[in-house]
């Protein structure tokens, strides 16, 4: 069960895993995620299904090492099994023919963006993908994104790849030269906050995929809650995608820090 059939390093800190999960491969859609638990003592963490192969019965996860669980997961090898893997969870992305769609991803958000880029393209949209990172080495999935994008714009903080600047600079540039009908953004909460502020000003309807802390991923606990349009929503069942202009990103940023100290204290478990 849940056997890893292939593993590839995208960069030092980003790893692609292809995992046996025939039922999930069959029922998943773009935007869905899974919850994994690596071992008996492990926690449950959400990961987006980046791709699926129904024939082979596998799903692809792209994992960024940021803490104990993601590091443990990335240390597994081909042939190893992930103890628990459940999904597909969340609501699928609303895919439609919008016209021109800007997909803006940064950091951890690039992996979950990939299936959306693919689906948007297949739905007949003109897709412009903007990938942002601090520096060249942290840009991932560029190849894969090109396959499904009409244009890929790379933005780095230090200008070591693509253009120097933030993801928002990229969006501004595109919006200045053509009409954008829809924007999808996934990344660190702070990035999505600024993307949202910008697109609100530019009046571009925007969807943000929120990566809050989760436990069960089935609506049972409320750990993942955020305020959207003044109402409390559960990201795992009501989302993960929401109208970005309605999301209270400041609250989300605050809540993401809930267990910072406990998580840091746990890092000895992976030798850090």
């Amino acid at each position: 069960m849940n056997k890893i059939v292939s593993k590839e390093n995208f960069s030092e800190n980003v790893i692609k895993l292809e995992v046996e999960a025939p039922l999930i491969a069959k029922s998943r859609k773009a935007g869905h995620f899974v919850i994994v638990r690596v071992d008996e003592k492990g926690e449950r963490i959400p990961l987006t299904i980046a791709a699926a192969d129904v024939e082979k019965g596998t799903i692809t996860l792209v994992v960024q090492k940021i803490g104990v669980t993601s590091i443990k997961l990335c240390s597994l090898n081909v042939g190893d099994e992930i103890l628990d893997l459940v999904g597909p969870l969340g609501r699928a992305t609303h895919i439609d023919k919008f016209g021109t769609v800007v997909c803006a991803g940064g950091g951890v958000g690039v992996a979950p963006l990939l299936p959306i880029v693919e689906a948007m393209k297949k739905a007949g949209n003109r897709v412009i993908t903007i990938l942002a990172a601090r520096t060249k080495d942290l840009i991932i999935l560029e190849e894969q994104m090109r396959k499904f994008s009409d244009e890929v714009i790379i933005m780095t903080d230090d200008g070591s790849s693509g253009r120097k600047g933030l993801v928002t600079n990229g969006i501004e540039e595109v919006a200045a030269r053509e009409k954008v009908d829809c924007c999808v953004t996934i990344g660190p909460a702070i990035m999505m906050k600024f993307v949202s502020l910008l697109t609100k000003k530019l009046e571009i309807p925007t969807v943000a995929s929120l990566n809050t802390i989760m436990v069960d991923g089935t609506g049972m606990c409320g750990a993942c809650r955020v305020t959207v349009g003044g109402k409390t929503k559960f990201v795992c069942v009501d989302g993960p995608e929401f109208d970005a202009h309605q999301v209270d990103f400041d609250e989300m940023l605050m809540r993401l820090g809930a267990y910072k100290e406990e998580e840091k204290a746990d890092m000895y478990k992976v030798g850090k």
Binding site: L23, E43, G87, P88, C221, G222, T227, M254, R255, G257
Partner: protein, 482 residues
């Protein structure tokens, strides 16, 4: 039942002691761990009765010709029948009598609200104005005795009928349904969304009240009877109901519980450190977060307020003590008389040092610059007219507010039905509250789909869930044999 009351040994037993002698006996006290010790450990608080104590208590039961206790039991357990077997020293026989009606006596003996059910109807309470026979303690005794004797009878399944049935959810409703159907010869597969089998019995009710090993024995027995368990599988997500049909399942029993937490939607409720009791108990019970070897984090508050007055609230507040809280408070908007929690839980909580702030209701929370909760504002209440639930409703006392310092708040104000299955099946009749609508035979508007437990009743009890599972098994069996 009338017949078995007339068997010779029972008649003799009745004659062996006069009613006067029986009623002169005092109710047994449960052996409990000392409050000061137990409030810091996970060990089960109630240690059970010794055989001598159980025997003594069983003598109090008058073996009434019309046992009113039985009417108080939601599933009609033959109460004097099992108690008299204890009195004559046939404890294994007593366990068998219990199992005629209850699939999980060791669980129910621990968690049923007996003071509202069987014991409230006992003649001692009703007519003699004395303390009821300790039916719950005796039930637990008989079930534990059987388990510890190593002689649990696993029903032999002789003729498999080859018909596949599916169960959605592995709480008490699902488990009891699975057991009954396996006995009838069906091939039963239980699908569970989480990585553990047992539903609320595992992720909700804490170890100090219901040790996991008790539940695991029941699950192992079901395995021995051939029941298949599939974890990490969500019906409506991983597999649809149509998938199950295509796979050859002829009947589906939905027992997916009422797992959705409610919040109060008051200002500041999303500050860090404020969470649902489901999140808190899941972290501690299911994920073992308080054990440093486990990866799931938990915040161990020093001043913890738990909002609510049900069993879930009591479990949360007592868990907070065990995680090191210096001040653990129950904040409840009505008075203690209206509290839905089992009496014993309230008593235990008080003994362990929990503060009860009844007639208080939170109206706002405040946090520090990191967003961590620091203070709650409580509105003082008074009791007004009875409301729809028959309980006197809480009314605000204008202007009476008080601020209390807290660093963790557990919101335990009720749960809603799990919408995953209802939302994913078209044509399923669902009430406005989100519960699945069923007939007396627990059958839904889709003939092959039956449902029971909290998904039908909203938040209810273990015994009702278990009873539903058994009723559904009976009805589905009849339906499938047609």
């Amino acid at each position: 039942m009338a017949e078995d009351r007339n068997v010779a040994w029972r008649e003799e037993l009745r004659k062996s002691l006069s009613n006067k002698e029986r009623t002169a006996l005092t109710r047994v006290k449960m052996n409990e761990l000392e409050p000061a010790y137990r409030a810091r450990v996970r060990e089960e608080v109630n240690q059970g009765l010794t055989k001598e104590q159980a025997l003594q208590e069983s003598k109090r039961c008058l073996d009434c010709p019309n046992p009113t206790c039985t009417q108080g039991c939601p599933v009609g357990i033959n109460i004097p029948g099992f108690i008299k077997n204890i009195e004559r020293g046939e404890v294994l026989e007593a366990a068998k009598v219990l199992k005629e009606t209850s699939a999980l006596p060791a669980v129910c003996g621990r968690v049923c609200p007996q003071e509202k059910q069987c014991e409230s109807q006992c003649i001692y309470k009703q007519k003699l104005k004395k303390e009821a026979v300790a039916i719950g303690y005796l039930e637990r005794f008989a079930a534990d005795y059987e388990r510890e004797s190593g002689q649990i009878s696993v029903p032999e399944i002789t003729c498999k009928n080859g018909i596949k049935v599916a169960v959605v959810g592995s709480g008490p409703a699902g488990l009891s349904f699975a057991g009954d159907m396996a006995k009838k010869g069906y091939s039963v597969t239980v699908f569970e969304a989480l990585h553990e089998i047992g539903g609320v019995l595992k992720y909700g009710i804490p170890e100090f009240r219901l040790p996991n090993r008790i539940v695991d024995v029941e699950i192992d027995n079901l395995r021995k009877m051939g029941v298949d368990f599939v974890k990490d599988c969500i019906i409506g997500k991983t597999l649809s109901v149509e998938d199950l049909e295509k796979d050859g399942f002829k009947g589906i029993f939905v027992a997916s519980g009422a797992g959705l937490p409610r919040f109060m939607n008051i200002p500041g409720e999303n500050f860090i450190g404020i969470m649902s009791s489901n999140e808190y108990l899941t972290r501690v019970n299911l994920m073992d977060a308080s054990n440093p070897e486990y990866d799931t984090p938990i915040y161990k508050g020093k001043r913890v307020a738990v909002i609510g007055g049900g069993n879930t609230a009591m479990d949360s507040v007592r868990t907070a003590l065990r995680l090191g809280a210096e001040r653990a408070m129950i904040v409840y908007r009505r008075s203690e008389d209206e509290m839905p929690a089992r009496l014993e839980e309230v008593k235990h909580a008080k003994e362990e040092g929990v503060e009860f702030m009844t007639l208080h209701n939170p109206i706002e929370y405040f946090g520090d610059e990191k967003g961590r909760v620091t203070k709650m504002r409580l509105q003082k209440m008074q009791l007004g007219e009875p409301d729809a639930s028959g309980r006197r409703s809480p009314v605000e006392i204008p202007g009476a507010v008080v601020d209390v310092d807290v660093d963790e708040v557990i919101v335990s104000v009720g749960v809603s039905p799990n919408p995953l299955v209802p939302n994913s099946v078209s044509g399923l009749n669902v009430s406005p509250k989100g519960t699945i609508v069923v007939n007396e035979g627990m059958q839904s508007s889709i003939p092959m789909i039956f449902a029971g437990g909290d998904i039908v009743r909203g938040g209810a009890t273990v015994i009702l869930a278990m009873g539903d599972g058994r009723a559904a098994a009976k009805a589905m069996d009849e339906y499938l044999k047609k």
